[in-house]
Amino acid sequence: MEILVCVKRVPDTAENEIEVNRDGTDIERDDLVYSVNEWDNYAVEEAIQIRDKVGGSITVVTVGDKEDEEVVRREMAMGADNGILLSDDAFNGSDGKGIAAALKAAVEKGNYDLILTGAQADDGAGQVGGILAAMLGWPYASLVNLLEVIDDKKIKVGREIAGGNQEMNEIDLPCVLSIQTGINEPRYVGIRGIRKVASVDIPVHTADDLGVAKDTVGESGARIKRLDYFVPDPGEGAEILEGSTDEIIDKLLELLKAKGGIK
């Protein structure tokens, strides 16, 4: 099975408090720790498990610049076979459709059976997989938390729906899936693994290489534009208990007792 996994380098929300910069044009980027989008790690792990079971190879792709190459390398250290960087000034300011248009061109240069994305990334939209599938005319399933290869024509996927239930589907290949966290346990990547791929060549494809019309990507092609970042008026919010830990605990216990929180 030939698998393409689309990944993204994002500020790590587990490691950073995300703050808005002074004029609201961006988040505060100084001292941010970046990593691969959490959902994408599950997608790469799933791809590795499929390849190890049925054979084939895994390519990891991202749209970005030189700095974004590090996440491709990291996923290769994890076990992906190849990496591709789609990079062009023309991609800057792309909305979900622009990113998907670049990825579609990369898909058409390969011979993939299965494309995986994370279910969402830092902007929480969860859109690129579904857009890419429709652009390719391939079937799509989102929020996949179980994947079984039936044969080289079809797979079985479980989707996470409400209430902890799972919706099972059979889906024809080639297809696009967005992968939900919890589908597997992504393997640890050690320093040694990273070193091994440190000098591997990662090809860079520009818009011209891909044959992407520049007016379909970037700011000119985008129908969604971010105006600003802001922190909403906190409104009422919680009453923050202050004082020494003992004082806080006393206040808390009083409240809990009044509300029936301690039996």
């Binding site: 929480g124 857009i131 079985k156 589907n169 889906i171 024809d172 966290t181 129908r223 971010r226 970042y229």
Partner: protein, 328 residues
């Protein structure tokens, strides 16, 4: 002429989802001139009941009735909607597991703009809609400008718009099945098999009065012991947020949230939980919420009644000791 606004209605077992009435309010914020057309798909008598219900709140209902829609498959309904929707329409869809399956691809098929997970609308100017979204798991918000002049598919976050309960419409039901089926059924590239029901755990957190709920802030599986100790001292049950289940530290049946359980306790202690909207969506019945988190900007403090800014790894053992001390 005003652009036509549509709302996709989610329903299950004959019951219309809460998001239906929320989309009337959302649509009202888009364009006060246009009436909203509800899109309702399904099959048989169950669908008829749903349409009747929906028609009391929407000016017009477009019904698509086919056996193939008894369980709605996004691939199938997407092809149908593409046939009946006007090119420049604005389509609102709830941002939940079905909407996320349907909407991105629908925007491509309609060649419309795609705006995901909107939480508010602030008006339209020169064919551009100003909307509010959240990024970084709710830590920051953004205003976005969406060019809706050639149509738009917009997913709307459940719970972010107030439900319009006025039921003032008394709308028409229009059967669109024939038009939707023109050229035959499409989308059999994906076939629904079955629903696998959630595993029942040893504790039913949906029945608990007091929940001690733990999130990523617990850092290590071994630290869970202190959470169970606190719950025991309080006479509470232990629940959790998604990362704890993803790490396989606790069973899925203990997960609170839209993809897990919906709980209705009297008291909810959120320990090291950031408070993503998917988690908060699983807490109903307006419990007294106590949030303990070392990040003072965590969104959970907006939802909580009382907050404590501290590392739960330090705070929990002290709290447990104090409770046990008082009890003895």
């Amino acid at each position: 002429m005003a652009q036509q606004v549509f709302a996709y209605i989610i329903h299950k077992n004959g019951v219309v989802d809460d998001t239906a009435l929320e989309m009337i309010t959302a649509a009202g914020k888009l364009n006060t001139d246009a009436s909203v057309i509800a899109l309702v798909a399904g099959s048989g008598s169950e669908l008829d009941g749903v349409c009747k219900d929906v028609a009391s709140s929407f000016a017009e209902v477009w019904k698509i009735d086919d056996e193939a829609l008894a369980y709605i498959n996004a691939e199938v309904i997407r092809a149908m909607l593409t046939r009946i929707l006007p090119e420049d329409g604005i389509v609102l869809i709830p941002h939940e597991h079905f909407g996320m399956d349907l909407a991105p691809g629908l925007s491509v098929k309609l060649d419309a703009a795609y705006l995901a997970d909107a939480i508010d609308f602030e008006g339209i100017e020169d064919g551009k809609l100003k909307a509010v979204r959240e990024e970084y798991l709710g830590q920051v918000s953004t205003h976005v400008l969406c060019d809706i002049s050639k149509g738009a598919v917009i997913t709307v976050r459940p719970g972010s718009f107030k439900a319009d309960e006025s039921k003032s419409a008394g709308g028409n039901i229009v059967d669109k099945t024939a038009e939707a089926m023109e050229g035959g059924l499409a989308g059999d590239v994906r076939r629904f098999l079955e629903i696998v029901a959630a595993e029942v755990g040893d504790v039913d957190i949906t029945k608990s009065d007091v929940l001690v709920s733990v999130g990523r802030g617990i850092e290590d599986e071994d630290n869970l012991e202190m959470v169970f100790d606190l719950a025991e001292a309080m006479g509470a049950d232990v629940s959790c947020s998604r990362p704890i289940v993803d790490a396989k530290w606790l069973e899925k049946s203990r997960q609170v949230g839209t993809s897990g359980q919906t709980v209705k306790p009297k008291v909810y202690m959120a320990l090291g939980i950031s408070g993503a909207f998917q988690h908060l969506g699983g807490i109903k019945g307006a419990p007294f919420i106590v949030a303990i988190n070392k990040n003072p900007k965590a969104p959970i403090f907006q939802a909580a009644d009382v907050g404590i800014v501290d590392d739960i790894l330090d705070f929990i053992p002290e709290l447990t000791d104090k409770i046990n001390e008082i009890k003895s």
